[in-house]
């Protein structure tokens, strides 16, 4: 059943992506100032959003784990962090390529770039720490605590943006500017593509969560064999 949902989600994501790509290249014109490259935005920004949402979903699951001690919550938190990290890396790489064309540099220590990078480093540390702990209960407990610290830190980092001079383009989405800067046709594709990437992420999380349960089963069988022998 779980696999069918994952496959279904992936199929829906693929169909939506095909449609979006067609729209992006065949229907939408080049942007006046940036030319063709602006299309990277359709992946760059949704990847950032999906990553950011993911970290806070993981925070929710971490808190849920601590109150319920249900391992499914821990598995979900770990899976969501891992998948979010993939999309955060997509975000950084696509952003870097865009910056090479528009700014002429691959990287700059701008506040938003810095905070995105810090986010990646924090949750990379989360995954590294998970690998270093073998006992599942201890791992779940400690990584939940780390996830809470990490998310609070992300909020603080993000807040300090306003105090740091910034080079990054300002917000272009409706909900942040309170009335669009973006062309409605573009905004439409943008949100469709956000949905597509979100579906890809959900499918990946489902697969990853299943693997976590398998790993836990292996661990408990090992312990059983250990005590029986």
């Amino acid at each position: 059943m779980r696999e069918k949902i994952a496959i279904g989600t992936a199929a829906a994501a693929a169909a939506l992506l095909a449609n979006n790509l067609y729209q992006m290249f065949m229907v939408l014109p080049d942007e006046a100032l940036q030319g063709a490259i602006y299309r990277i935005l359709f992946f760059h920004a949704p990847a950032a959003l999906v990553g950011m949402i993911g970290y806070f979903v993981a925070l929710t699951f971490s808190i849920l784990y601590l109150s319920s001690k249900n391992f499914l919550h821990d598995s979900l938190a770990a899976s969501v962090v891992e998948v979010s990290l993939v999309f955060s890396v997509v975000n950084l790489v696509t952003g870097s390529i865009w910056a090479r064309v528009i700014w002429g540099i691959w990287w700059t220590w701008d506040a938003r770039l810095t905070s995105a990078l810090v986010c990646v480093l924090i949750f990379f540390g989360y995954l590294v720490m998970r690998r270093a702990i073998e006992e599942p209960t201890q791992r779940a407990r400690l990584s939940s605590a780390l996830c809470i610290f990490g998310c609070v830190d992300v909020v603080i980092v993000y807040k300090s943006i306003d105090w740091f001079r910034t080079q990054h383009p300002g917000p272009v989405l409706d909900f942040r500017t309170g009335g669009g800067k973006m062309d409605p046709a573009m905004a439409h594709i943008f949100w469709l593509n956000f949905l597509a990437i979100l579906l890809v992420a959900v499918a990946l999380v489902l697969v990853r969560t299943r693997q976590e349960s398998t790993a836990r089963e292996i661990d408990s069988l090992r312990r059983l064999a250990h005590t029986a022998a």
């Binding site: 590294v128 407990r141 939940s144 610290f149 609070v152």
Partner: protein
């Protein structure tokens, strides 16, 4: 009240042990001095050093801090002292606070040595804004210390403990280090603070308060398995 009394007890015990063995102070102090000497070869002009001095100092503090924090809970491992403490009336929150206090004192001592050496090697007069500078150092050092204590506790039973601690705390410390570096740079270059710079002080305070509260809240989760 009880938490504070117990925290002071732990801090005093840790400092007494440290003064006797000098395990982490020697390592951290030697590290700080070596880095400062190496940097004095790399940079010569005094104007340049005022720009990067803040960054240099805080990176030295953060790196030397990791050496101190690694020992912080590891000190409790021989003879299962950590178990004994946790089975006693002492609360995990007071244990973490006590460790943070001990870290704070050790790191501050190390910072004092570092800045004196920094002043001599780079010919920088750092005493002109000593009041503000002390405030910045205290606020920044507390933030580093409390995170060092929390993650010292979190990593104490892990494989590769010494490696894991820096991987986890440095990214978390970024906002604190940015603020502390900006303020230190300002104070070393002999400018007075503008309202805009108070934002950095505010950031330091917010960081300290938020993470101290979080540490108290999660101490049980981290220490009682």
């Amino acid at each position: 009240m009880k938490t504070i009394r117990h925290a002071l007890l732990i801090a005093r015990k840790d400092l007494a042990l440290e003064l006797r063995t000098k395990e982490s102070l020697n390592a951290a102090g030697a590290f700080a001095i070596v880095i400062l000497v190496l940097f004095s070869f790399a940079f010569e002009e005094t104007e340049q050093i005022k720009e990067i001095g803040g960054g240099l100092l805080w990176l030295v503090f953060a790196f030397a801090g990791a050496l101190i924090f690694n020992r912080s809970f590891a000190r409790e491992l021989p003879n299962d002292c950590l178990d004994t403490l946790l089975a006693s009336p002492l609360s995990p929150a007071s244990l973490v606070t006590g460790k943070a206090l001990a870290n704070f004192v050790m790191l501050l001592a190390m910072e004092l040595i570092s800045i004196v050496i920094f002043g001599i090697f780079f010919n920088v007069n750092w005493t002109r804004h000593i009041g503000e500078l002390s405030l910045v150092f205290a606020l920044g050092t507390w933030g580093i210390s409390i995170l060092g204590a929390v993650f010292g506790a979190l990593t104490v039973n892990l494989r590769l403990r010494e490696l894991m601690l820096p991987i986890i705390i440095y990214p978390l410390l970024v906002p604190l280090l940015i603020a502390a570096i900006e303020l230190t740079k300002l104070l070393l270059s002999n400018q007075s603070m503008t309202p805009n710079d108070f934002l950095w002080t505010k950031l330091l305070i917010v960081f300290d308060v938020v993470f101290t509260a979080l540490a108290m809240l999660l101490a049980d989760t981290i220490l009682v398995n």
